[in-house]
Symmetry: D2
């Protein structure tokens, strides 16, 4: 296959980020072209504009929660993109320094604020008094340290092992993470087109505005899922932005829109919410099939519809 025909991936760069690691986990041994973007918005823009076929961006972290810029950009962009896959990767950092630096010399540590939040306990124990120098990404901190050395304004970067290696830094500590089970979930985004085939273990991502700012409205929305036996694996509130107290909800449903119960829930949602955006149906990373409740299998919907059709034509 020629280089021109290879799938083109962009990702939240620079090189060496956890996002690049997620991309590698997703494509496996497939040969692809990769090109980092400077931020999530740029990565998604590259796909929208046709400069990339796919973008890999972080979606949520088990400690820090949703990545707002990803949620908000996917939910509100005028030309919709869709999620076609997900990757979940464990998160643990290395404390990367210029070769020769010792632990007691580390007073200023640069990293992305989310990474900092996930290492605060470790820093308190091992680097008591160290201060945080925010960076736009963990890899950017590593790159800057490698590039500028003592002029970087900090002594160490908390970054991925891949970053430390790529930028020629030394790992003074590995496996740094306050929560050893911390994971980050990344999504693979493309322009709309044929949906990934249902696998029996899929997710559907949606964003819906609530009809009004009553608590009852959220209950009503959730009942659209409950009556069709559709479970949610993620639900996150986001401000609509025009005033406090008005929310949209970003959700992952267990199932594929090609399945009856998911389609029925979406139909219900479309009726009761002023705005709904479909953001993709795609295979789950963990391949775990949902527990489908009695009365909510595809066959149950098909049989029920056929029954009502017979009634409507007078065959009771």
């Amino acid at each position: 296959m020629s280089e021109q025909q290879l799938a083109r991936y962009t990702y939240l760069g620079p090189e060496g980020t956890f996002t690049e690691a997620a991309l590698r986990a997703f494509v496996g041994t497939e040969h692809v072209r990769t090109d980092p973007s400077t931020d999530v918005v740029s990565a998604l823009d590259a796909v929208r504009g046709g400069r990339a076929d796919f973008a890999v961006v972080p979606m949520e972290n088990s400690v820090e929660g949703g990545v707002n810029v990803t949620l908000d950009t996917l939910a509100s962009s005028p030309e919709p993109l869709v999620i076609v896959g997900e990757v979940v990767v464990p998160v643990a950092f290395v404390l990367a320094v210029l070769p020769g630096t010792t632990l007691d010399q580390v007073r200023r540590v640069s990293t992305h604020p989310h990474a900092w939040a996930q290492c605060r306990g470790w820093v308190g124990r091992e680097l008591d008094g160290a201060v945080h120098v925010p960076a736009t990404s963990t890899a950017a901190a590593a790159a800057l340290l490698a590039d500028r050395g003592r002029e970087a304004g900090f002594d160490a970067a908390l970054c991925s092992a891949l970053s430390a290696e790529r930028y020629g830094l030394e790992a003074l500590a590995e496996g740094v993470a306050d929560n050893p089970h911390a994971v980050t979930r990344f999504v693979v985004v493309s322009r709309p087109g044929a949906l990934p085939e249902p696998t029996g273990a899929d997710k559907t991502t949606l964003m819906a505005h609530l009809p009004d700012n009553e608590a009852g409205a959220l209950l009503d929305m959730l009942e659209q899922f409950a009556v069709r036996g559709v479970n949610l694996s993620r639900i996150e509130s986001r401000p609509i932005g025009d005033s406090l107290g008005r929310y949209s909800f970003s959700m992952d449903l267990e199932g594929h829109v090609a399945e009856e119960r998911v389609a029925a829930a979406l139909i219900g949602l479309h009726r009761v919410c002023p705005f709904v955006r479909f953001m993709g149906s795609y295979p789950r990373w963990d391949r775990v099939a949902p527990n489908v409740a009695p009365g909510t299998h595809d066959a149950d919907f098909v049989a029920a519809r056929a029954w009502v059709e017979r009634i409507r034509t007078g065959q009771v």
Copy 2:
């Protein structure tokens, strides 16, 4: 039109019952053949067996509640019948006696137990100490009194004005009813066939078994209506009959199965209930159109389904 081609109606007889009055109100000036049945089961059997085209039978009374034999026979018969119309008539009785009888001579009063229940207060005031002699119908009491006279075993019948007139009895009192607003609702039943056209002001009658004997099961069933904005104008519990605590529910929904929201609710019900029987969609007697909530008009369902169809084919 020859006599052979006239629509054949049977009804809960004998002649002169409130049911016959309801039949007359329903057919209006149409020329039909009528033939009383001895009880509700026989009337419905006559339609099932083809000896009548339609049966008119009582369904519920605003004071006494549902007429169990009608509900149960329609709900459980192996060959289903469907309701094609309804009639609501005010209920007030006359105290019918043999000509010459005076009020102070009335010690024993025959009538149907439901009628007795609706006149108890009046009897207590006007005929203190009078006892009830149960009859199979109000008209049967009148007929027996006219037929047997003093040998009937009672002195008066509480029946319809039509009965008193038809059996040559004298009305010692008219408009007898503890509740002046009491009404009885009758239904017109036929064999299955093309449904009555939707009029915009229709009812749909159903019977559904609950999935189990938990209170939550009733809640789940009602939510199938709530999420589609379908209101109920009647809900009555009936024992399933195999043990205490197991219920089916007989319900009237506001709307016609040809309407989207009603069809959607029926589809949901079919999925969650072990047994559902459709018993007809037909015009309301009062011609009052239901209040259709935002998001539950036919157009909302059509638009939502089209949206999901587009999603499924990759056109977000």
Copy 3:
């Protein structure tokens, strides 16, 4: 103990009814005074007026459903009575005749309409063509046949074995019942006073008017039970009586008002329903303890209230 001090029971008579059998099952070997009433209303009036301490009346039947006169009289009487116990008895009839009558001579059968409904299948098979002569009770049919013989106007009575024996009739058939599992539930009613002690296996009987005639109102009412984990073992709709479509609900809750979850549900019901009547907390006949869901034990309520009390006094 002198005769004057014995507990005085009345019941739906005449002697020999299933109700008398229920009374005997309830009092066991206790020595009591019994006195039949002519109907349910009279039995309850006797208690209200102090002429009896307890009344035993039928409440519901597994085939025919609720006994409306009992439900309505208990629910609407200006001076409330309370249920202090229940009895469930299997229902099977005997076909009682004057000695010497043979099966092929039986053309007219008298019994209470509810009994008739429960033997219709048997009658169709064994006494094809036999007609029903309604009686105010099964025992009344037996008594009249014994009293008037051929002049009674019917040839046989469907009644309890006790009735046949007491009135000197011969049982041409025994165990007559279309449904071999049919049972009737009777309640023991007294004037208000100290409630029966909670046993861990109790019922609470209530009647509540719905706030309006929306289906949503029933859902709201049921949610008051659901959020406290209170299950219903009986729910029956009754018309409020002022117009079609307005219902009250008569319910049995699993549990005793002395239990926290039941008390909490009643408090909720009192807030949302325009009218609620408490009709008793009493031991279940079957002694089956309810399944109490996590978070709804008495200790959970006590702990939660204590927590809120601490909060209110500033001790977080």
Copy 4:
């Protein structure tokens, strides 16, 4: 009053932040001692440790959503703090530069990432191509620019007008905000003690873990509010942190825990959620009283409880 007795406030510093402006709006003309903290965690620690009486910290922004560090620190600290007040301030920035800098010289702009997110559109239009240099706060960016001048590594700061003034910078543009209605809500936090008195227009802040990761669990939780007529003005999901898909919810309820309906909802929540933290009842900044639904006024709860008490003592 001596300096020693003045209330001591800390806030998210450095001087000149929007948080300091909020503090000033909250205390009005009251004379207080103020001392900035370097971050939210330190500000809350200062109160916990007794070095300050109150901390003012940002809670949520109408565009960016909840401030996770505030939500998480308040929700999870072993020694609880409580919110005793709130302040809502409009958010608009100035583009602050060293005196003499012109707009076309601005290529690198420093500010807090949340501020950057709220000015992205403006930057795109007015400073096309400008890049973001993240800072720990808007005021820190201003302070660094004033302190280091050309050595700061950026040309301008997006900060509050107060910051620009305090640090002697020049505002090249004012009222910078993509959304002119953007507001930030700050909370005033203290150690537990007597709650602020109910004013009739209060909020109660809570955090609750869901019992399990089913969508139904969220529905169940919301029903605890719905059945008591308690509305939510804020609901935000936060990961519990041990795995993806497990959430806690941070919520503001309309009402004060001293009010019956709020207390009842909290009691219900305590029963169904594995963990609930009360984080304060305090006056709303906007002084808008909630709409209290029928059946949910204090008097309704009091009357309902009294009714159940009477029942329990046998007075029906």
